[in-house]
Amino acid sequence: MRRSSFTADFLFHYVPAFLSIAGTTTLLHLLRNTLDTPLIALLYLLPVGASASIWGLGAGIIAALAAFLTFNYFFIPPFFTLIVHSPSDLVVLFVFLIVAVVISQLVGRARAGQAIAIEKARLTEIESRAKVLEESDRLKSALLSSVSHELRTPLATIKAAATSLRSGEVGWDSVARRELLEAVEEEADHLNLLVGNLLNMSRIEANALKPERQWNLLSEIVAAVIARLHHPVEDHRILVAIQEDLPLVPVDFLQMEQVFTNLITNSFKYAQAGTTIRISAQTEGEAEVRVRVENQSPPVPEQDLERIFDKFHRVTAADRITGTGLGLSICKGIIEAHRGRIWAENLSDGFAFNFVLPLSLDGKFAPKLPFESET
């Protein structure tokens, strides 16, 4: 091993260094009548420095020694001997040797340092990639445990309701029967929402959540969401206050439906029954629309206001409120894919989700339709 490495060094580092000196010597010898001795010494430093920088410290030293000898042999009188007569030539020669060796050492070391730095950066990168993988692995197992728990709960309800209905114990016209059937339907809807969220999460993870932005009315999106919610009206009142002349907003209809669905169902979970959920929207300046979903839930600790948009982060203990902790992080993913921002804040009498969205698409604002008179 040792030997083959030395051979490789010799072939690929020392030989080229030696050849660079040979080349320089030939060139200088051809020009020897126009150059004086100190200039020749200076020019010899070029291949020495270059060798050290390209092929390393060893090659630099080889080049320095070769340059010292050829300089003496070809350019210091008497020519074509290694003998030196003049004391000043002797000084030039030795100063040259020292400078050449020092230069090759400095350059060679800098080069080695650089290599180490590159190696270090590579190691750090590998390490951080390992950390990311570890983190994503941790998230995946958190997801699995959260999802399996979250899937089993409605399944347990459905199974219990279906078996008791089949058992014949529940009368055909009883209130219990109606309630069991309602539970089955609600839990099925809940499972469906969960699957939608999981799909969106995987799209966000894979960077595949590309909004198909088209000119839409926020009021129409909100109305579609409310119509689909099947939430018992006595539980929460939903109030919509969207600015009457709000311009069309360039959004993906289905993705924004998911955002509103998640923010509203989150409000259902945390705000007490009988309270109001208020959805409002108005333009903010010329270029943005600001949307707010307020509820009357208890405040969230300040340090958690940002973290509630993290995956699986839930402020309340898992056994009190059901949920995967995915809903809000999906909202964030979708809003950011629309080049918007989302944040949460405590209000004096409740809690609010806010988001802003740009009103322009590819630099253009909503088209104006021609006015038409009634006939």
Partner: protein, 230 residues
């Protein structure tokens, strides 16, 4: 109708087939089932159904291809079933001649409503078309171009009327954005969904009791609109 309408259900999920067979059979429909596109096409040719319920996620061929192949020889209504995340597939199937769609999971009332609408439109295709359509307090007279609400005339612009008339003539059926834009505006405007958004808001303001919670002009997310008549 003297004989029970014949429904052909094409879906590769045995549980769905079992449930639909039980429920539709209970409603005295004659139900045939197929588990693949090829089997469905063969069964349809051997014993032409009055209506086809077709799942878009079949193992052997694309649902919209099945639609296209059926449309080569029959005008019988086709209702496609698909999941919420595949709006493109739904729109493609509707453009290939499907009459309506249902998002899985669906409630059985929705399915039955779709089946009734589809059968009614199929029956009407051969006979005279209704010229008076009512939806709650709204009455639309397609012959006289008059729209009233609680008996009072509603002033509409020419485009608003054209839009409402197209929706009402197809009451109960989903109409894709593209179909509406092509019909009411111009094939060149087929991409201008913003026209629809704005005009639908105007129509709702003039016709709906609560425009924010419409009862008659229904948005079908990612697909189009549907007018619900009485």
């Amino acid at each position: 109708m003297t004989t029970a309408p014949h429904i052909l259900v094409i879906d590769d999920e045995p549980q769905i087939l079992r449930a639909l067979k039980a429920i539709l059979g209970e409603k005295s429909f004659k139900v045939t089932t197929a588990v693949s596109g090829h089997e469905g096409l063969t069964l349809a040719a051997a014993n032409p159904p009055d209506i086809v319920i077709l799942d878009l996620g079949l193992p052997d061929m694309d649902g919209f291809e099945v639609c296209g192949r059926l449309r080569e020889w029959t005008q019988c209504p086709i209702i496609v079933l698909s999941v919420r995340e595949s709006e493109r597939d739904k729109v493609a199937a509707l453009d290939k001649g499907a009459d309506d769609y249902l998002v899985k999971p669906f409630g059985i009332e929705e399915l039955l409503a779709r089946v009734r609408v589809a059968l009614r439109h199929a029956g009407r295709a051969s006979g005279a078309k209704a010229t008076k359509i009512t939806a709650g307090p709204i009455a639309i007279d397609l012959a006289w171009h008059v729209v009233t609400r609680h008996g009072a005339e509603v002033k509409l612009t020419a485009t608003e009327y054209k839009l409402l008339a197209y929706l009402a003539a197809n009451a109960g059926r989903v109409l894709t954005h593209q179909a509406i834009l092509t019909h009411v505006w111009d094939p060149a405007d087929a991409d201008h969904v913003e026209y629809l958004r704005v005009y639908m808001r105007q129509l709702r303001k003039k016709l709906e009791t609560d425009p924010e919670q419409p009862q008659f002009i229904i948005t079908e997310p990612g697909v189009g609109y549907r007018f619900l008549a009485d």
